[in-house]
């Protein structure tokens, strides 16, 4: 399994925000996670990315990783994009992407001073990969501009490029379409949809069910901190408890 979370539980005092969630995402699989506001989706993402303290166990790319250690989890191969993009505003776009490069060799001081020739070679390859990633999200022409000058939607794309260049085993995307207009959302759906084919598993949480349906081949529905349904979208939407908990409103909205 690329991502295996078992018995994840997050309690805020008496509130069981996430109450023993098991979730596995296989290689090249794209999973959507949906649920009403307050169902525990974001808290679950925060737990598996190490941002909030949680109980349970976590495996990334087949390796056990301790919970609560965002850096270690990221290095194990789990990348995340945020509901509001977390780019380094003072760094240029390409530097933002370079930071996430999978090649962590010769990044330290000793490498920088001692293995200079090898370092420059590696550095050139990094730049090439970073430019390619920026190109994929349509930001190649803004590579040398500070990320702080990008629009909200562009920052989100930059974050995605950063996630891509790191070649994570799994990308966790938290509300990736928030704040995007329809064209941008369509572009985003296309980019995310490509990922499984490139060997990156995907876990997407989004309010826009069209988007989830478009990119995910499996959907997990959460309510009150628990998983209430898990399966192919077409099948899940039909389940009574899902309709009752969540999709009723979608039906109403559509009707």
């Amino acid at each position: 399994m690329t991502l295996r979370a078992a018995g994840i539980a997050v309690h805020f005092g008496a509130l069981r925000a996430v109450d023993g969630v098991d979730l596995a995402v296989g290689p090249g699989e794209a999973v959507g996670m949906v649920g009403p506001n307050g169902s525990g989706k974001s808290t679950f993402l925060n737990a598996v990315t190490g941002v909030v303290a949680a109980r349970g166990s976590l495996e990334v790319a087949g390796r056990r990783v301790p919970l609560g250690r965002p850096g270690a989890i990221r290095r194990a191969g789990l990348a995340r994009t945020f509901q509001s993009p977390q780019t380094f505003r003072e760094l240029t776009c390409i530097e933002n992407v370079l930071l996430a490069d999978r090649d962590r060799h010769a990044t330290g001081l000793a490498g920088a001073w001692l293995g200079r020739r090898a370092m420059w070679r590696r550095e050139r390859r990094r730049w090439a990969r970073a430019l390619a990633a920026l190109d994929r999200v349509g930001l190649a022409d803004r590579a040398e501009e500070p990320a702080g000058l990008l629009s909200y939607g562009q920052q989100r794309m930059l974050e995605l490029a950063r996630a891509l260049v790191g070649e994570p085993a799994v990308l966790v995307a938290d509300e990736p379409s928030a704040g995007l207009d329809d064209t941008e959302t369509a572009e985003l759906a296309r980019l995310l949809g490509d990922l499984p084919a490139r060997g990156v598993s995907l876990l997407v949480v989004d309010h826009k069910l069209d988007l989830v349906e478009q990119v995910a081949d499996r959907v997990v529905v959460m309510q009150l901190g628990r998983v209430i349904a898990d399966g192919p979208p077409a099948e899940v939407w039909r389940r009574d408890e899902v309709v009752e908990a969540y999709l009723g409103r979608r039906g109403a909205a559509r009707g």
Binding site: E90, T92, E95, T107
Partner: protein
């Protein structure tokens, strides 16, 4: 004209030393958010270690300098481990006071080890001078300027063309996000303290041959480097270097052409003016993009 050239070169050389110290401030500040007030005493310690290596170990001069730089890099890491890491999560004031404590410890150690009497570190060029446009310029000043230029260029490359540098800048930009990107925060702070320690030693061995070495050697350079960092907006290599050169020149030319009585004060007047008029620093902008 000779007088101007003489004062100008002196100002640039003094500014260059301030710049090296200020770059140490900058590195640590970027990686950890802390101002390391032990920086000045690290300059002094660097000079004393070079003296020790050159006289007691009888190493050739450049070897002694290298020993000083390496030793101070290690001292920098020790300061990080003992004066910063244990209280990293405490308020910034606690951490800054802790670096002041480290400064006092270093000072006490120097006094116990080498005493309070002035001593001297030889320079590779002795007291030779070279005539430039009629002005007699000590070669050591030219050496200071040259070494600093190389050092600034190397640091710029390090900051902009290596993952290490980008990680430092990412930490400065957004600590939490940097951690989320898998940047090893603890290792980075150790490395930057070490690098800043080495820079201090470099400043120490550059400036020591121009004067007698006492336990106060690094105090003045640290104050001016601090002012330079404020002038430069504490954000970028370019800003810090411009700030440091401005301070060296204002001090020398102000002393030479306005009134020598206030030569030590001009840099701080300049600093206060900048704080009042341009709190983001001379080269600072709203998004401090170009580092």
């Amino acid at each position: 004209m000779e007088r101007f050239v003489s004062l100008f070169v002196t100002g640039v050389a003094q500014g260059a030393v301030f710049a090296v110290v200020a770059l140490g401030f900058l590195l640590i500040h970027k990686a950890t958010g802390v101002i390391n007030f032990a920086q000045g005493d690290l300059v002094t310690l660097g000079a004393y270690i070079a003296i020790w290596a050159a006289t007691d170990l009888e190493l050739p001069l450049l070897g002694a300098y290298a020993v000083a730089v390496a030793a101070l890099a290690a001292v920098g890491v020790l300061i990080e481990r003992f004066a910063y890491a244990p209280i990293r999560d405490r308020s910034i004031h606690v951490v800054v006071i802790s670096t002041l404590g480290a400064a006092l410890v270093i000072r006490a150690v120097i006094v116990l080890w080498r005493g309070t009497s002035p001593t001297r570190l030889r320079g590779p060029l002795g007291f030779e001078v070279v005539e430039v446009l009629g002005a007699r310029i000590p070669k050591q000043n030219l050496l200071i300027i040259g070494v600093t230029a190389v050092c600034v260029a190397a640091l710029w490359l390090l900051f902009h063309r290596t993952q290490f540098g980008r990680q430092v800048r990412a930490l400065a930009s957004d600590r939490m996000a940097a951690q989320m990107q898998g940047i090893r925060v603890a290792r980075m702070s150790m490395l930057t303290f070490g690098l800043a320690g080495g820079l201090s030693a470099l400043a120490g061995v550059l400036i020591a041959p121009t004067r007698a070495v006492t336990v106060d050697l690094g105090f003045g350079p640290m104050l001016y480097a601090f002012a330079a960092s404020i002038l430069g907006g504490m954000g970028s290599i370019g800003g810090v270097v411009v700030g440091a050169l401005a301070i060296g020149l204002v001090q020398q030319l102000g002393g030479g052409y306005l009134s020598p009585d206030y030569a030590e004060v001009y840099p701080f007047v300049l600093m206060l003016l900048v704080i009042a008029l341009r709190p983001q620093g001379v080269l600072g902008s709203e998004v401090r993009a170009r580092l």
